[in-house]
């Protein structure tokens, strides 16, 4: 900066102080007056906050001063003062949704990349799960939905950082919870997603997987407003597998019968065909897919009442969502009520309360006897009717060689209803003890009741193969109560150019899960869904957990240029033996606002801030078990002695006395760049996470002799291994708010590279997810130097056409336990030993994406609004189990029409192997099942229209302030090469809530195309 300019600035500053003028005005936004907005003078410590009507008065201001208007979530505006009496400012919303300061109940954290998603982005998107609404909204956040309404959504923040439960921590108004299915999006004010060490270390023990902070709507002073919103729509999924019809299937069975007694053929002919060579299906050609899929309606209503005075404010929200699934007899519905109030009862005391009540009901697709629904749907014989002429559910006969269950029968005779009631609430009081010094005490409660009712009614399939005369009833009653008592002493003050904040926090968390299960079976009647017979039995268990935390947090900023912050948190968890229970987690962060430097004079850059952070987080999620560091005896190993069931007790766990905290070191380096007064915004972050002592259930050798899994025996939680994740996040925003046509665009892209660096002392790979039936072997594993949960198996390349080809490639084939024959899958002999065996397995796929991205485009023109959201995942592999269902060819099931071109005679050149009866090597875990599941999806298109106010006022007598109608399409278009129904593979969870089922398509319900229309009215 030239000396001359400096002199002028200096002179003006001094002059201003001498002259001292006053300016007043109002700050408004789309939503009306904006209370609490900051009005400051650039490069001075002077500043005020707007009142409840958005008004401000700024004294002692001089000509040439630059007044900065800012508010979280809005684009700052600068106005040069030149003697105006009144300056009214309209702030545009910052749609890029980025922040670098987050205010949590503990205090303020600086220099941290925070993604903010605001209510406007959420509320018109009717969804059962908050996670779904976050999809594509923030860099670094990968969301994977299940297509079944009410199913769990996988939210991963910055890659796979743990081998265990990878879900982030959800905090609703300061209360930790996992029941985010209980929140209606219309009651949410905003969602902050914390990703880096500086913000996460504050959450210490629970921050490893990221934190999603949810703030519900609070009352605002002013005239009471009432908003109501309703939408209704239809969901449909029209993609189908191409399956053999009755005549193709019967021809296929004839060909199988011709193989009886030969290698690969069945032992006995299929009786239905053998006994009646003219059997033609009797004119029945059931399309089992059509019988299982349906058009499913969806509707959503919510309302919000908001108001209050400067002394007391309230917000009441309510909602009702009902969403059916596109598989028959599945669906979700939920009712919620939110009541938030706060009041100032004295100058120095504020009190308040939040309360979110919800009740939901979910019916998921039935997986009876461990079978995927689509296995039954694909495999069922098309000559079997859904309902036969006797009114019974159709079914195969014993001689049919087809053991597919009638999935319609399964879905209709089994009822698995989950009902979930939840309370998330808090009471708090804030005391202003002195200038800048506050004490806040908060008591939070998260209590929920999960009622699970399963009834497997007696049934009989017409074919006679499957029947069950017993009516089974199981009822689980589970309560989780969590109390959090948080006391915070916080200091926050600015002395001239020095701004200081510090907090000391004490937090006590008590969690108790209690579960009771009652069951019954009777042959009396299937119409009574209650437990009553002498066969009734009951069991219960409870899992208590305590967590005590002490947190110190501090920050300092100099001259709005340099800032530093640090925190230390000590957590003590009951999940570990007392000597391992406590752990400190530290963090530190640095920030430099380059634009506030005097030497910085690039006009077109209005904001450039560099930041770096380092911090530690922890994880204590070890599943629903108590004191895993101690051995226990299981009480439920009964035996029948002399026809009486006698109690049996024996060791039932392998204790790990050394179990301790899983820890993670996170680093983050990034910058925010604002160009042309934030018309273009760019944020780039580089992150590097190293997780150590990862907690994972490790399978002991089955010979350990402790009951657990039927095949693998027991597992024990161990601190095993190190995983590194590093990647970039890019966010780019552009807006053009000039003129009638306003539009903005933003896009984000996240890369994350996950590598397992160590797996404990032995370093042996650890096998993980199973899908059994149909696959006996594990599908994925962890291994040093590889991505976590990569798929591992044989490498398939076509089909052996002739014996000569086999002899040439596999000289030692004949000495294999089961030699490969012509028509079998051509696996590559990786080991080079001349035959195919388990030693030929290799890494065959990686379910961790190379990068994920999303693009959002919005526009407004004279009352019309337009919103498009695309998101995509690139470079991700999936295990497509449907390929087995479509071309397994090891039984007399129905298959895809592709099996018509299977290998049948030497010399056939095809990609589909021969029919080979019974479990065999053609269906070993192999690259046959691995597909690229990259996709680009048109997630959402919304077109809305705000009725002009003169229309509204004519009909509404001025009562209605705003009326908007809109139509929305979801998932209208998906670009992918994946051959399964949906490339967005729903996660599956085991009892421990693990994410080890990453990218395994177990024929989950696909995400439908949804078209809906809605209306929003504000009174």
């Amino acid at each position: 900066m030239k000396l001359k300019n400096l002199c002028i600035v200096f002179f003006l500053t001094i002059a201003g102080q001498i002259i001292g003028q006053t300016v007043t005005g109002t700050v408004t936004s789309n939503g009306g007056p904006l209370p609490g907005a900051n009005v400051t003078v650039k490069n001075q410590s002077k500043g005020v906050v707007t009142n409840f009507d958005g008004n401000y008065t700024l004294d002692n201001i001089s000509n040439g001063d630059v007044i900065v208007y800012s508010f979280v979530g809005f684009i700052s505006k600068e106005v040069s003062y030149s003697g105006q009496k009144e300056i009214n400012v309209f702030l545009d919303e910052d749609l890029v949704g980025l922040d670098e300061i987050v205010i949590v109940t503990y205090g303020t954290q600086r220099n941290t990349p925070v993604s903010v998603v605001k209510s406007e982005d959420l509320s018109e998107f009717p969804t059962a799960d908050l996670g779904q609404a976050l999809q594509g909204r923030a860099a670094g956040v990968t969301v994977t939905n299940g297509g079944s309404p009410g199913s769990q959504t996988l939210v991963q923040i910055r890659g796979v950082n743990t081998f265990g439960d990878g879900t982030p921590l959800y905090v609703v108004d300061g209360v930790f919870t996992n029941s985010i299915n209980s929140l209606d999006l219309s009651s949410v004010e905003k969602v902050d997603i914390l990703k880096d060490a500086a913000s996460l270390a504050v959450y210490g023990s629970r921050g490893t997987n990221g934190v999603v902070l949810i703030t519900t709507k609070k009352g605002k002073a002013g005239k009471t407003s009432f908003t109501v919103q309703a939408s209704a729509g239809i969901q449909e999924f029209n993609r189908r597998y191409d399956l053999m019809n009755t005549s193709q299937y019967i021809q296929f069975l004839r060909e199988i019968n011709a193989l009886v007694g030969q290698n690969g053929g069945p032992d006995d002919p299929i009786e239905r065909i053998n006994d009646n060579p003219l059997f033609d299906g009797n004119g029945i050609d059931t399309d089992w897919q059509d019988a299982y899929f349906r058009q499913a309606p969806l509707y959503n209503v919510n309302g919000n009442i908001n108001g209050g005075s400067e002394k007391a404010r309230f917000n009441i929200g309510f909602s009702r969502l009902s969403q059916d699934g596109v598989y028959i007899d599945t669906g979700f519905n939920r009712s919620t009520l939110n009541i938030n109030a706060d009041a100032s009862i004295a100058d120095w005391v504020d009190i308040g309360q939040t309360l979110a009540l919800a009740h939901s009901e979910t019916i998921l697709p039935e997986r009876f006897e461990g079978r995927d629904p689509l296995w039954n749907i694909i495999g069922q014989a098309p000559y079997v009717p859904v309902i036969d002429q006797n009114g019974l559910f159709g079914g195969t006969a014993s001689g049919d060689l087809n053991d597919a269950r009638n999935q319609i029968r399964v879905q209709e005779t089994n009822d698995n209803l989950s009902r979930f009631s939840s309370i998330i609430g808090s009471l708090y009081a804030t005391f202003k003890l002195a200038e800048g010094l506050t004490f806040r005490t908060q008591f939070g409660l998260n209590a929920n009741l999960n009622l699970f009712d399963a009834q497997n009614r007696a049934f009989e399939e017409g074919g006679g193969r499957f029947e069950n005369p017993i009516n089974f009833i199981t009822k689980n009653r589970q309560t989780v109560s969590q109390t959090i008592f948080t006391n915070t002493l916080a200091f926050d003050k600015t002395y001239g150019k020095h701004s200081v904040n510090a907090s000391a926090v004490l937090e006590q968390t008590k969690i108790k899960l209690e579960s009771a299960s009652i069951s019954d079976n009777n042959t009396v009647s299937s119409s009574i869904p209650e437990v009553f017979s002498p066969n009734a039995r009951a069991t219960s268990f409870s899992v208590p957990e305590n967590l005590n935390s002490v947190l110190f947090l501090g920050g300092y900023e100099f001259d709005k240029r340099y800032s530093v912050s640090a925190s230390g948190r000590r957590d003590t968890s009951s999940r570990f033996a007392p000597e391992n229970a406590s752990e400190w987690f530290f963090s530190g962060a640095l920030g430099w606002n380059v634009t506030n430097e005097s030497f910085f004079n690039v006009d077109w850059i209005n904001n450039l801030k560099l930041r770096a952070s380092y911090g530690e987080t922890g994880n204590n999620r070890t599943g629903n078990t108590v004191n895993q560091f101690l051995p226990t005896l299981g009480l439920n190993l009964p035996s029948s002695i002399n026809n009486e069931t006698a109690t049996g007790i024996s060791p039932n766990n392998a204790a790990n006395p050394d179990i301790r905290w899983e820890t993670q070191i996170k680093q983050n380096y990034g910058f925010n760049l604002g160009i042309l007064n934030d018309q273009i915004q760019v944020t780039v972050d580089y992150f590097k996470n190293r997780s150590e002592d990862l907690l994972i259930p490790v399978e002991l050798a089955a010979s350990a002799g402790i009951p657990g899994n039927a095949q693998t025996g027991p597992s024990v939680i161990r601190n095993v291994g190190i995983v590194d994740v590093k990647g970039f996040e890019f966010t780019l925003g552009y807006n053009d708010y000039k003129g009638d046509f306003k539009w903005n665009f933003w896009a984000n892209l996240t890369t994350a590279q996950n590598v397992v660096e160590s797996l404990g002392v032995s370093g042996e790979p650890i096998e993980r997810a199973r899908l059994n039936p149909p696959f006996a072997a594990p599908l994925n594993r962890l291994a040093v130097g590889e991505a976590p949960f990569h798929f591992f198996g044989l490498v398939a390349d076509g089909v052996f056409s002739t014996q000569e080809q086999i002899d040439a490639e596999l000289p030692n084939n004949s000495s294999a336990a089961v030699p490969v024959q012509p028509g079998d899958v051509r696996y590559l002999d990786i080991s080079g030993n001349g035959q195919i065996g388990l030693e030929d397995r290799a890494v065959i796929g990686d379910p961790n994406p190379d990068f994920t991205y999303s693009v959002n485009l919005r526009a407004e023109y004279k009352g019309w609004d337009f919103n498009v959201l695309l998101n995509g995942v690139q470079g991700v592999d999936a295990f497509n189990s449907n390929i087995y269902y479509l071309e397994g060819l090891d039984n007399g099931l129905n298959y895809g029409t592709r099996v018509i071109r299977r290998w049948q005679n030497p010399g056939d050149i095809t990609d589909i192997p021969r029919f080979r009866f019974g479990s065999n090597i053609n269906n070993e875990i192999s690259s046959r099942y691995i597909e690229d599941a990259s996709y680009l999806r048109l997630r959402n298109v919304t077109v809305g229209y705000n009725l002009p106010s003169n229309w509204i006022n004519k009909s509404g007598n001025g009562l209605i302030k705003k009326l908007r109608v809109y139509v929305q399409g979801q998932n209208l278009l998906t670009l992918t090469n994946y051959t399964g129904l949906d490339p967005e593979i729903a996660p599956f969870y085991n009892a421990l809530g693990l994410v080890d089922g990453l990218g395994i398509d177990r024929s989950a319900q696909p995400r439908p195309v949804t078209v809906l229309s809605g209306i929003q009215i504000e009174f």
């Binding site: 069945p266 032992d267 006897e369 461990g370 003890l433 010094l437 004490f439 005369p469 089974f472 199981t474 299960s517 079976n521 066969n535 208590p544 305590n546 967590l547 005590n548 002490v550 009951s574 007392p578 229970a581 406590s582 108590v626 101690l630 226990t632 009480l635 190993l637 009964p638 035996s639 029948s640 002399n642 026809n643 069931t645 006698a646 109690t647 049996g648 007790i649 060791p651 039932n652 392998a654 490790v698 002991l700 050798a701 350990a704 002799g705 402790i706 009951p707 657990g708 899994n709 039927a710 095949q711 693998t712 025996g713 006996a776 072997a777 336990a817 089961v818 019974g918 479990s919 070993e924």
Partner: protein
């Protein structure tokens, strides 16, 4: 402002108090869901419960695979294509088949439960004072546990050869390498010897529990298999209190109503009770699943049919055939033979009558409460015949064989009738042939045939040809060849998950050929 300062002081004190109050002593929690092994074996019911759980894993084992493996790999059975049966019947098994892992895991879980009893002998003995159990109760508990551990290891060594030898409760969960088959047999013998000295005779202990006679019978069987004939002879001589049922009651050997009769040496108990649907299918031993699927599997669905070979082995006038196998409409079944085969919803013959519910009921179901007969006295008698033959006492051997013939009302060996039927017993070899024949028909479908063939070295000859219609076709080109290789298939592969998880085992420890 003064007032506010007072509050400030007050809150500072309160906050300090809270900091102190939140000390870590409050953090640990108590596990109220399970008992602590350090404070157990303090009452008779606790001792009994520990012993009961040692029986538990056999229920898991014989829910399916305990029957299926020895049957399907023998020449008595032709399997359907059901994946629980077909790979075994075709000798197409591999290390990743889940049923092989299930078999292995159940056996070792059983060993673990036995070790829990055996390894806590000192604790039990120390607790007798002032308690409601005596040293005799402890003896009985230990005797059962030793027998059951031997029986679990017998099941392991027969299917896998040498396996890790887990006999110390303190190191039981640590990885161990494979022991040799000889070491396993030696441990089985040692355990059975302990059991014979600790258990009570039949009638002096609760029905359904291990008896002294059961221990001696099993000990004799293992001695016979180890070719220790004098020891076997001695062990069998201690098997008293048992007898062959008359032919009219022969069906009691296989039915639910006939359980624990005088011919039964030891049974795995089922009573048909099911907890939840999940428990029924769990196959872990956890939960109430006192049922076997055998009736449904074998008899209803005919997943393991009796082979033509075993049916043809019966002499035409042998009444045991219709009591073992249901073939067609000529067969009747049920109480008082009231029903005509096939049973409603059943696939049709031939199917196994043995161990089905059809002796007592018209229908089969998945929830069968028919006990597993681990050994019958008839087997003891036939083994005694074999022992005597091997000791050169041919006449005594034939006498034992004829006990079985007499019970069946069949012509005796050594008579002109039997000589004419091709079973003379003048030489050791001829007696051996008679033993092979008699064991085949008397014990068909009772999980002894494959192990017999292996120890007689007849496995290659008998198992290489498919035992169905054309097994004895004089034209060898019309005989269907089975994929049996005695250098491989005498034992199954060690489950891959064991090799992967056990740090003391590597791929090189797998059985040859897998």
């Amino acid at each position: 402002m003064k007032k506010i300062s007072n509050y400030f002081l007050g809150f500072a004190v309160l906050f300090a108090l809270l900091l102190i109050a939140a000390c870590d002593e409050d953090v640990p929690v108590e596990n109220t869901n399970a008992l602590n092994p350090e404070i157990f074996f303090e009452s008779r019911s606790q001792v009994e419960a520990a012993v009961n759980s040692a029986y538990n894993q056999f229920q898991t084992l014989y829910q399916r695979v305990g029957y299926v493996f020895p049957d399907a790999i023998s020449d008595e059975v032709v399997a359907s294509g059901d994946p629980n049966f077909a790979p075994y019947n075709r000798f197409e098994f591999n290390a990743t088949l889940d049923n092989i892992a299930l078999y292995w895991t159940a056996c070792f879980n059983g060993v673990g439960a036995c070790n829990f009893v055996i390894g806590n002998e000192d604790r039990m003995r120390a607790n007798t004072e002032g308690s409601d159990f005596s040293n005799e109760d402890i003896d009985n508990a230990l005797g059962q546990a030793y027998y059951l551990r031997a029986l679990y290891y017998y099941h392991l060594v027969k299917r896998f050869g040498g396996v890790p030898l887990k006999i110390d409760v303190l190191t039981a969960t640590e990885d161990q390498p494979r022991a040799t088959a000889d070491q396993v047999y030696n441990q089985i013998i040692a355990d059975l010897q302990m059991s014979t000295s600790l258990t009570s005779p039949k009638g002096a202990t609760e029905t359904g529990r291990v008896t002294k006679e059961a221990a001696y019978a099993m000990l004799g069987k293992v001695y016979l298999h180890r070719q220790l004939y004098p020891e076997a002879q001695d062990a069998f001589s201690n098997v008293i209190n048992h007898s062959l049922l008359p032919i009219e009651e022969y069906r009691d050997n296989f039915s639910e109503t006939g359980e624990h009769n005088d011919e039964s040496m030891f049974e795995i108990g089922y009573n048909g009770e099911v907890g939840t649907e999940a428990e029924r299918w769990a196959q872990t031993g956890i939960g109430t699943s006192e049922v076997t699927f055998r009736s449904q599997d074998y008899t209803g669905w005919a997943n393991a049919r009796p082979s033509t070979k075993v049916i043809e082995e019966f002499e035409e006038d042998d009444p045991r055939l219709d009591l073992a196998i249901l073939q067609d409409e000529d067969n009747t079944y049920g109480p008082g033979d009231a029903f005509q085969f096939p049973c409603p919803g059943c696939v049709g013959g031939p199917v196994w009558y043995k161990f089905s519910q059809l002796y007592d009921e018209q229908n089969v179901s998945q929830n069968s409460g028919v006990n597993v007969r681990i050994m019958r006295y008839a087997d003891v008698v036939l083994m005694q015949a074999e022992v005597e033959m091997n000791l050169g006492n041919n006449d005594v051997a034939v006498d034992f064989l004829n006990e079985i013939r007499d019970r069946a009302g069949m012509p005796r060996y050594g008579t002109a009738t039997m000589d004419a039927r091709g079973f003379p017993v003048n030489t050791r070899d001829q007696i051996f042939r008679a033993i092979v024949h008699e064991r085949f028909v008397e014990l068909c479908g009772e999980q002894v045939r494959f192990d017999d063939l292996v120890r007689w070295n007849l496995d290659d000859q008998e198992l290489s040809i498919f035992p169905d219609a054309n097994f004895n076709n004089p034209d060898p080109s019309l005989q269907v060849i089975r994929n049996y290789d005695p250098s491989v298939h005498r034992v199954m592969p060690i489950p891959q998950n064991e090799i992967d998880a056990n740090t003391q085992m590597s791929a090189g420890d797998q059985n040859p050929g897998y």
